[in-house]
Symmetry: D3
Subunit: 285 residues, 6 copies
């Protein structure tokens, strides 16, 4: 389990500021300043729950009390209460939309991740399903955390997490082998070096140059399985993590997982999920 790093608190405050700006006009003119209430967040669709840490942090930022009813990572059903917030009725109404916007998106991602992991592991119980950097600008931390809650691997959070040599880099340098060797030499020993390979030959070249990870980009499941086999025969397979990306989605992930690779990456985890539905009901105290 992961605590929100303190700088995320600042981000959540920015989210509240974005929505509330100079003040919640409606609440200020209709709700007495000292009115107290209890607000419950309910699931309205079946989902893997995520975003509770964020709601708790918002409660703490704004002086509300919280009572978490379900833990993150569990399935929730329509009509199920997941969190009770209590305190100033004005505050409850003013933070409602931001809380729901976070929980709906994070739960949507966690749900999709959970399903893809489950599907992939039917054929390969050790395979990892990883997200990409195709996230919403400004909201990446939360989308990546939702992937973790759904059982996925966050992959790189930012461009400084690992070296990942892509085709654009290779074409400038000239060859996979040369690019990997340059990275090995220049980058701190504390960092991994990954490299895209478009052919079996490039995969071998990358491994021999010292890549920690080889990324097969836009391979069919069959071709990926072929690479796995040849590498195994050449005793290169256990020197490297084999990752597949490009077009991996719910309907083909099981086939890709069968290929024998270690990691399946999918941009769709964060760029084309469906928000789960939640709402918040207020009662006065």
């Amino acid at each position: 389990m992961k605590q929100l790093p303190s700088e995320l608190i600042e981000t959540l405050k920015e989210f509240l500021k974005e929505d509330i700006r100079s003040g919640d006009l409606t609440t200020e003119v209709t709700i007495p300043v000292d009115a107290k209430g209890v607000a419950t967040i309910y699931a309205k669709s079946k989902a893997i729950l995520a975003g509770m840490e964020e709601v708790i942090a918002i409660a703490e930022i704004t002086g509300l009390e919280h009572d978490q009813l379900v833990f993150e990572g569990n399935w929730v059903n329509p009509g199920e209460g997941v969190m009770k917030l209590s305190g100033s009725a004005r505050t409850l109404l003013s933070v409602e939309r931001v809380c729901l916007n976070i929980v709906q998106r994070m739960s949507g991602i966690a749900t999709k991740t959970y399903k893809m992991v489950a599907e992939a592991r039917k054929s390969n119980p050790k395979v990892r399903v990883a997200a990409t950097r195709k996230t919403t600008p400004g909201f990446r931390y939360f989308e990546k955390r939702a992937v973790t809650i759904g059982g996925g691997d966050t992959h790189r959070y930012a461009l400084d997490d690992m070296v990942l040599i892509k085709n654009n880099h290779i074409s400038v340098v000239g060859s996979v082998g040369k690019a990997v060797r340059m990275a090995r030499e220049e980058v701190s020993f504390s960092k991994k070096v990954s490299c895209e390979a478009r052919t079996l030959q490039e995969a071998i070249e990358a491994i021999e140059a010292g890549a920690d990870i080889v990324l097969l980009d836009n391979f069919s499941p069959q071709d990926a399985a072929g690479v796995h086999e040849v590498l195994t025969k050449k005793n290169l397979r256990d020197r490297v993590i084999l990752e597949i990306s490009g077009g991996v989605d719910e309907d083909n992930i099981r086939a890709y997982a069968e290929s024998g690779c270690d990691v399946l990456s999918s941009g769709s985890l964060t760029h084309s999920y469906k928000s789960s539905d939640f709402n918040m009901l207020l009662s006065m105290r």
Copy 2:
């Protein structure tokens, strides 16, 4: 046409920082510091183009030159180049992901908005299609701007844009009429007052109390049409803007538009759109 407000420049810098953090490791070790290149952003799916102002701003922030090939708001086809960026090859590679993440999301929203507006106006040429506050935290400005590019109405940007009395407020105050009168009295004359109505009676009460807008929440198209007719007969219809929200989506928007209302609001414009597909290709100069 709308220029990016200067504070958005800071937001775009934050987006770059989120992705690049302490540096683009891969590019630093594979691309010479003085290499120059040209990168073209291509559409990979049919879409209403959006996000060009943001890419231009990122180019200016990072010292790249830009040459816009298609204007925002136009349809683009798969394979069509939309923007050329040129300058430092390192910079081009380091900003690629953020540019694409913005363009893909904004074009996805603009495309969905455009379709819903077109569909609604088949039956009601003057109707407006509006977004809601169900946006991604931290990314609202861009999502709202994409709605505008697609021909939609942004609705409230934040809680201080207008008074919008919802059921939670009404239940605290006691009645629609009282809530509207409180708002009228307390809020600056420069602000509009909108109020949710659950029944025809509440709609009439809101108008008589001075609401500028009445929001019919979760009405069927038929019931909404009924409200429109009664208000017209009572000579109340032209004193108010009639808005419908709750479950409005692509498949029913035409029916809702026929009801005679002025505005149709839909959260799905920003919470369940599909990213359009774009990529960026680099060539060295």
Copy 3:
């Protein structure tokens, strides 16, 4: 009653930082670090009290206890204590100047506003007295809040609150009617559209084009009353809010109020008020 939005807390911290900077040299060398005291803020002139929320917020930011003796919006007399702060003597001395600078200015504005509202309502009990954007940069929120405490209307807080078409805009567009129609079309239905009119004819044109508010700029009370009458006869008066601005001040506001308009705006509320006098006395505990 209005709570300070959380971002204002940051502004108050900036105010403290501006005055204290790297430390209160004098206090650090003369007051023991653990000395405790009680400081009372006294009025030294008759005034409508304002700025108490800000002092309370500063107390909370700096760990002082507070005991409010008079509510905002009430008259205070010379020698009357309005707030007791207690805690670290060093802190009390270090925040003194910022607290007084806020209370003196806000009370000065509230007092002037109160008097102008009272004067205007002698002849027109429903009229509103509104401030303008002629505020001190960086201090607008507090000046506007003081206007509210004095019984006035804040008018636009910023340029995104409402459309207000002024002569400079009209001269570019070509006519009042065209400018209002452009605004009506382009701007979200959630926003009001106001327009300056230099003549009766322009006022009528603005209303017919759909303006929510017509602003009579630099009219004499008599001319404004004439506009009111003609609009009433033409059945246009109840479709619009009539606002007067330009030279409205304490000595003529009653005459302007008699004209039948709805709103009287005056820049002098914030640009030429006199600070009320307050001081703070410390006793050790």
Copy 4:
């Protein structure tokens, strides 16, 4: 002459953000994005001009060209143009209010300062007229700079500029002499030590303890002159700067200046000045 420190640029951006917020709605819907114009700032009342550096900085921040017609510190007459700005018509309209709000306040302060300095120097040509910390929170830098332009002395900008022992400090420590000695000992040799004195005896005590400045608080001109004489006789006068504060204003400053003191401080320079009147006229290019 003083350049704006770079952090002030950030402050000016904040001022623009405060006024423009998410965008200048009116300008966006009425002025074409590529329209160009020239805007001239005119004086509407006689004043010592100030605030030109700020307007220039705003022009540079927002990409406008500027042509300064009158230098700061000179008298301007009603109808006299002081600055021409040119560029995007939208930008000119969006920055108008902030520019004027700054120029009006700073010129008002510079004008008042100039008059008080002139009056004081009629009887004492070497006397300095100084401001206090009674400034508008968040706007102090600009108010102090206006004092300088008017020929005044800024006095302390913040609590870390100098030690200034006031009555509250003295009553905790026990005596003027002890307080000055504590300060002398604890504070860096690079800082001056000033001390309030309520009597001649305290003034002498402060000087003998090593004060650089003695501040006579709420003395009449006659009493202050008496202190000056005694100190002169005792050969203490040239070891100290003699400052008077408390109730110094335009009508009595000449009498105070005659007392033989070195510095006259007046809070009224920044808390009860009258804004000078300026406006901005736009013509399209």
Copy 5:
């Protein structure tokens, strides 16, 4: 004793963010989220202790309890515990490095300062030993505070603390006397004016022009003593503070102190100190 100004709290948060960034990976995967521990900071070398206020502030920022075992400014011996922190084991491990990095550097500086002060006062009990602006960018406040803890004088914190005319300024202006007179005239009476002198003649010129401090730059102890004597004879010595800088270090400070000057400044206090050694041991609760 000096409390940390509130803006320093933000700086300490930045320090934590620099080290922890998006999260302490190791601690998150090995330490249970609810594990509690006690961590003690021990000295590993003999030193004057400094940095305790900073550790306490970090504890308060991160929700840890603290129990200070030794006060700042005292000698500590190897193996001596100086501070106990308790609370979340994850937090204790995540803040360890930043706490130690601060304490080691500050104690190193305090120790060096203490020794130099002791050495200098052997020959001149009233002399002050001052730091310079040769500090680590971003860390100056802490280095200056460490100097104070060690018994030194902070000298200027920033370029606005005092006028200090150096050779570069003199060569532009033309002479020491003219430069001092310009400063005296232009700068607020609340500020001191210091001036470098390369010769006895320049020292006299500076004093006669009104300098508060004369800085003898790169004088030998003998030459400095000569200046002191001549000034004394000419009755100028008590009108000025005499400071020496340039090459002052532990091995010659006693000789310089004998010269009769008031202040000895040494850049080596902050640019070439040796970090004291401290570590932190954790035990689970």
Copy 6:
């Protein structure tokens, strides 16, 4: 070669603000606002040059022109000019101290690193010399970059760069093997896992559990060599990077390098280096 990431620009602005604060008093009163000059930075001691990118960035931030005379990473000799800056004389004087403070520290670190790398590679030409996180808070980026310029390896920049299991973590988890397995399972495949080992047995346990790096803490060169040999015999050596830390310094690094390890880490690179000496001379243009 590495460009400064854009957020570092903000850090450099903070450094300038720390030193200049509200303005460079001395320069403002002695140097005409339009005076132009040329300033040259000279080495005063033999050093590996570093910090030029920072000086260039400061020049660009402040509008100065720059002409770099020596590249970073080269030896410079006393009296050798390394950078010419030209432009506003006021600006040159105001940025002098910050530029020198950066260049002196970074060159000091680069010089020490260069020497330790050279010494270590006498006995082991492939060994890497790495820094630690014992850096000055707020200045880490620059210290790490100086290590790179000197030929060293930066090691972890922050706690999220890699998993590094230390004794405190192991004692909570119970064993090296368990801790490594927990990390392997929980952390993204894109991250390396390193583990401290106190004995040969722990080293073997860590490798078998999947550690990428084993860190021998406080081993003698002989004991480290023994670990290297046993691992080689057991065919485990090439599955792991072997790092040594604890007491590595200039006088023993060659012996440690002979042990056959891959990386030698030394906190002294950043906590006990000696600043190189540089100065800046100004001539007017």
